[in-house]
Symmetry: C2
Amino acid sequence: MDKSSIPKATLGRIPRYLTYLREISPERVPHISATTIAKALKLGEVQVRKDLSMVSGAGRPRVGYDTETLVSQLEDCLGYNQMTLAVLVGAGKLGSALLQYDGFRHYGVKIAAAFDSNEHALAAASKTEILPMHRFSDFCRENNVELGIITVGEASAQEVCDRMVASGIKAIWNFAPCKLQVPDDVLLQNESLALSLAHLRNRMSRN
Amino acid sequence: MDKSSIPKATLGRIPRYLTYLREISPERVPHISATTIAKALKLGEVQVRKDLSMVSGAGRPRVGYDTETLVSQLEDCLGYNQMTLAVLVGAGKLGSALLQYDGFRHYGVKIAAAFDSNEHALAAASKTEILPMHRFSDFCRENNVELGIITVGEASAQEVCDRMVASGIKAIWNFAPCKLQVPDDVLLQNESLALSLAHLRNRMSRN
């Protein structure tokens, strides 16, 4: 099955499958069934079966999956063996929160550097290097950066977006609360936290 | 139609409808059709028709919608006339970024106060009051807070969640990267930024 069509919910469970399978260790347990995994993780068996079939096809009857193969197929899904390099523009509060967050590498994305035009932002302590904007395009080209994260305000978001596209970036994750224009071959994903909150609020009124 | 079943995508377009309808002003344009709105906002007519029918039923043939009624129905959807009060626990980088964000009130949610156990966080400059945790329960009860936002780390998220539930909060928006246990009558919405990024990365490999 085409790995790229894996739905978000399945993707979200893959780290749990991986953690479990690594814990039981492929050497000790060379084969494992969807049933065993479902029980151990307290998930529905149908769900686990469906998830695994998307990643690895059906398990062998009465034998299950080859544990080692399954681990590496799950890792492939999350891009473990092919890290995607990202840059972030806008090292304000939200940007810094994202830089601080450790979880992206579990999903095959590494933020290689952050960029900002503000001197205070450049001077801030950060695990990730914060560079001035004039170095942006060279950095992206030299490092083959594929993904750009926009955490600047609405006013400069389109400008940053254009700069990303001109620097060869193929996918953009936008946190600015505005519509951005990108060429057809560039993927754009808008993250609207306000909308998530609105959705929760709306579910509340149902209760 | 039951307003609470409005899908997230429709919800996301409502602020644009509202902005437009207020601009044209109900006094000058007492009736308006879905077609006119669709053209003005460069949206598909079918989509606009569907969105509005969820909020206001079908427009009158050849007349359209009563503009003023439509505006107030759209406002109701976003909770304009019934602000939901929220509190946030964890005024670190992500928490501060959310506090700084101005967009939530457009969706009927007001963050009334933030709480933190850290002195530095308490001393930080913020438009929203940052209070010590020992005042949490009293504040929630006195102000009828209905919604709690968790932006603390994984280690203390469940404790914060339990405290929210004990203080009468009925819906929780969780940013901590862990599963939380809540009673059946409490709504829980997990926000996984890592998962959103993983989804984008996964879409990239399709291109």
